[in-house]
Amino acid sequence: MNNLIGSDADSQRTLYPYVTGTSVVGIKYKDGILLAADMGGSYGSTLRYKTVERMKSVGKHSIIGASGEISDFQEIMRYLDELILYDNMWDDGNSFGPKEVHNYLTRVMYNRRNKFNPLWNSLVLGGVKNGQKYLGTVNMIGVHYEDNHVATGFGNHLSRPILRDEWHENLTFEEGVKLLEKCMRVLLYRDRSAVNKLQIAKITEEGVTISQPYSLKTFWNFAAFQNPTVGAEGSW
């Protein structure tokens, strides 16, 4: 059955993504980690799917957020579910924390890259274990690092400058959410593949919660937006 379901002959090739998710933004805050991502699945320039969950919990201590090809993210979730299952089967009182999961993902992503058959994703991995907060990222070429705030895609260019300016140690939950919403609003204005339906995920020592989907208000009522081409007709 195996060689009917998948062919070995074609794995030596870089592919291209079809259904993609855009930015994921993550920050450390006082009690743990906050992640934000919209629910869009784009198909080229079409905003085709608008209720795609791009953040999922991994075991008891971690959450993963993914941008890039959604089918590859779904496959990564299958790998992670298997990883956690085998971890649980040891039944030894120990469970994989975010550091371990991030390391596993890094090896998977880098090894696929070396075979010219990448999983076309940029991932954010966050979690808390034994009071230690962890926030890292890994992408399709295997580049990986940890930081107090991370983002993928457009988030790197638009959100991280905001975070560099306004993030500080010991943000409260409310401050953290407001900060992420500021980042997501900028992405909504300036990223063509952004969709106005997002979720915020929180992970603390207690566990993971992923918010229900919601939408952000946007602001268009600036004087400068009213008649921008007066005196320069034809410009924009």
Binding site: D10, Y18, V19, G41, Q74, E75
Partner: protein, 236 residues
């Protein structure tokens, strides 16, 4: 000099419009019937809604060959699965088998699929499986080249909790609108409605469909128009 009748050696592709919609009690699958080879219509009455089991059907778009072979494999596996399970397989299992083949052969396949059916555990379900092998369970989904013209229509016309009649009418109207604007879609509208009572096929030939903008009611001949009482048939 020689007017080409289309590249007859081009691969058979179903330009296509395919739709899957859930309603209160089941699902309705719909499709057009045009299969083209380049610019030539190779089959004007194709059946793109293919049976996988008694209770699960699949709408096929993209490469005719690829979608047929995927359906054939899944039908074969599901047949064995049903025997082993001792009862009808669920829609979810069928959809995941389709995903497995689509995902693992993503480099070679070019087919977008919609799996729809009814089982006693979850009722009516629709799964979209676009290029790349992403799987998404959705209340409704559209696919194929004709679907581009239907995003706005469904954004406006789709409602939760429709009756069977409403859902069927919506699907027929939508396929008919897509046929009006997409050169790669045409022919008749076929629907398959699946619920606890089984699957039933309907067939809507072109003359039973509503007329859209700039479309005229079909006539047998100009001669009929000339001989009728109306004063305007010839314009000088």
């Amino acid at each position: 000099m020689d007017v080409s009748s289309g590249d007859l050696n081009a691969p058979h592709s179903m330009g296509t419009t395919i739709i899957g919609v859930t309603y209160d009690g089941g699902v309705v699958l719909g499709a057009d019937s045009r299969t083209s080879t380049g610019m030539y219509v190779a089959n004007r009455a194709s059946d793109k809604i293919t049976q996988l089991t008694d209770n699960v059907y699949i709408c096929r778009s993209g490469s005719a060959a690829d979608s047929q072979i995927v359906s054939d494999y899944v039908r074969y596996y599901l047949h064995q699965h049903t025997i082993q399970l001792g009862q009808p397989s669920t829609v979810k299992v069928a959809a995941n088998l389709v995903r497995l083949i689509s995902y693992n052969n993503k480099n070679m396949l070019q087919t977008g699929l919609i799996v729809g059916g009814w089982d006693k555990y979850e009722g009516g379900k629709i799964y979209g499986i676009p290029l790349g092998g992403t799987i998404l369970e959705l209340p409704f989904t559209i696919g194929g080249s004709g679907s581009s013209y239907l995003y706005g229509f469904f954004d406006q016309a789709w409602k939760e909790g429709m009756t069977q009649e409403e859902a069927e009418q919506l699907v027929v109207k939508a396929v008919s609108l897509a046929i009006a604007r997409d050169g790669a879609s045409g022919g008749v509208v076929r629907t398959v409605t699946i619920n606890k009572d089984g699957a039933s096929r309907k067939f809507y030939p072109g003359d039973t469909l509503p007329l859209w903008h700039e479309e005229l009611a079909p006539q047998d001949s100009l001669l009929d128009i000339l001989s009728s009482a109306s004063p305007e048939p010839m314009i000088c």
